[in-house]
Symmetry: C2
Subunit: 369 residues, 2 copies
């Protein structure tokens, strides 16, 4: 599965796998794809350094990438405390009440509260980059629009390609103007932050909008048939995030959550602002229902919502409170029905792709060799 | 573009075109596809007979189909007046006020009020069928779940295949159990009634759910690349509705509406209950905004909403009130940017499909002949 972009990056298959788990990212790269490690949870640069050292040892010399979260617009002189102070008391009470109603215990003293707003702040992302450029990272992806111009320039100086996610052709055009190299067209059906346009429509729109820049199709891809579809739509590769969450290498840290993912159907996700304040697809739970309920206080804008719910999300995960337990995941969750190794999943993808190509050639009346 | 289903129906390309306009349906069939005439607006059987006579003369002997709207569940002894009586006065006032705010004139006496609930009632659909079976219709599609068992049996007696739209794998399984022959997997991005699951995820799910029944991919398809994607997902053909609305053969009856369609981007539709009471994708307008506004009275369930707004919709169309003027259409509207003949559009589709197949073979490292 070879495209101009896969050749440029030196990978066998144009399959990009986004994951927060180094073991998954390394296994994707070893299998012939391109593992992209999500860096949002590394608030301490030394933690990222430790995991990139590990990646170096476990990717067998195959290329991999890093995904950071860096807003293009700088917010000067705003501390986490300043942001905390902007959260209305009604919303804090709603969190407390919702957790109490479901009997969610408090964290023990000293237990980390997991996801923090700090991972989303520019100084943290910049300290991540200081580490990243010490490693042979092949691609730097940014989940929040294009990174700042100096970061793009710095990446290019290091020979690192820069990718950015886009939910519309207009976003993608802005990315292209900012000098990024690869656009990830993130469809409505994708896990995490998504727009309203489904992959079937979005991918070719973005391909045409930024031509000749390479585009990766993201959202709804979890089988070889879907990879063939994404490539048929004009993409130079596919970007898969959700599918790896139920691989044996993934360390979600909650058996109950893994069980929920394995049991969920494609209709069991919702695009909700509950997690970050922007619409992000995730498992639908009593927690997202509470936030999406018109009778409730509603969500706060980013980054307030993320800060507001950070500790609550940690508590829900720590105590595995079934009804509230969720995670960002795409509609492809309906296909995630067994725990398999990254290698098995990957081989299934490439085999399925070959079968899909054979089938479409039969439909087109072509014989292939 | 040949599949088992296209061979069975005797068509050259597995492209199914749904349209309310006989001239469009006939042109699709003449171009080598399968035109499917939407029958919902034929409340008088003689009108349908007139247009099917016309189809016979203008399809050049090529096969075509008919789409009816027939609920599987029968509602006995309920008249239109009974249904009218169930509409709350607050909702009638909201319609009157919204029209007044936008200065929409009344219809002149005797002017038809367009779409009526009667087209959705079983006795009308049955009278349509009495006409349809006098013609060599190749496929009978039903937009509201599977048709009643006796209708399926009657179609099969006439050698007519029966198709039904499905927005989820569960729907599709019910259709299969009801003995239908073809499932149209209607993705989130499609125009008209849709579910939440996008085509990229829905199509293969439905294909696997009803295997070996043939599935048509619907939603988001308006180019050869998208046809290739739909077929790569396992479909035996594609089902396109929106794309034909801006063909030169289409008789929308409003230049202003055609202009709106040509100008709209993929982000200019909304999945709203404003038209029928069930979520249907359509152009986003001040009319849909009013109904979707949490401050408004909200929509009524089907069929009340359709009955409530029928006259209003006619008035909006009759007087081409720009801000309110809309129509069911999918996200593919972003690609409908010029008025071309059905033949031009169709040739573009088949040429684009061939290019997409060539490209995917290059990616797969296959040479074809």
């Amino acid at each position: 599965m070879e495209t101009e972009l896969s050749r440029q990056l030196g990978i066998e298959h144009a399959i990009f796998g986004f994951t927060p788990f180094p073991a998954v990212a390394a296994a994707i790269s070893r299998a012939g794809g391109f593992g992209v490690l999500g860096a949002v949870r590394y608030t301490a640069p030394e933690d990222l350094r430790r995991d990139l050292d590990w990646m170096q040892e476990h990717t067998g010399g195959m290329p991999y990438g890093l995904d950071v979260v860096m807003p293009a617009k700088k917010v000067e002189g705003v501390s986490e405390a300043d942001v905390e102070a902007m959260i209305p008391e009604t919303h804090r009470t709603f969190v407390t009440d919702t957790l109490a109603r479901h009997g969610v215990p408090e964290l023990a003293e000293g237990e980390a509260s997991g996801w923090r707003i700090t991972g989303w702040m520019e100084q943290v992302a910049r300290s991540q980059l200081d580490v990243a450029f010490d490693y042979p990272v092949g691609l730097l992806a940014n989940a929040l629009g294009p990174p700042p111009a100096d970061v793009v320039a710095r990446a290019h100086d290091h020979g690192v390609l820069v990718a950015a996610l886009a939910g519309s052709a207009a976003h993608a055009r802005r990315h292209a103007e900012a000098g990024i190299d690869v656009v990830v067209a993130q469809g409505y059906e994708a896990g995490g932050h998504t727009g309203e346009i489904a992959s079937m429509v979005l991918t070719p729109e973005v391909v045409e909008a930024v031509d000749p820049l390479p585009v990766l199709a993201a959202g709804g891809i979890g089988s070889g048939r879907q990879i063939a579809a994404g490539l048929a739509l004009g993409a130079q590769g596919v970007w898969l995030g959700s599918l790896w969450l139920t691989t044996t290498e993934a360390t979600l840290g909650s058996r109950a959550l893994t069980a929920k993912l394995l049991a969920a159907g494609s209709g069991d996700t919702v695009r909700s602002r509950a997690l970050t304040g922007k619409p992000a697809r995730q498992l639908r739970t009593a927690w997202t229902d509470a936030w999406d309920d018109p009778a409730g206080p509603g969500t706060l804008p980013m980054p307030l919502q993320g800060l507001l719910v950070a500790e609550a999300v940690s508590r829900i995960q720590r105590y595995e409170v079934e009804a509230l337990l969720g995670t960002p995941v795409g509609q492809i969750v309906g296909r995630m029905n067994s725990e398999r190794s990254v290698r098995e999943v990957f081989d299934d993808l490439t085999r399925g792709f070959e079968e899909a190509v054979t089938r479409i050639n039969r439909i087109a009346g072509r014989s292939t060799s």
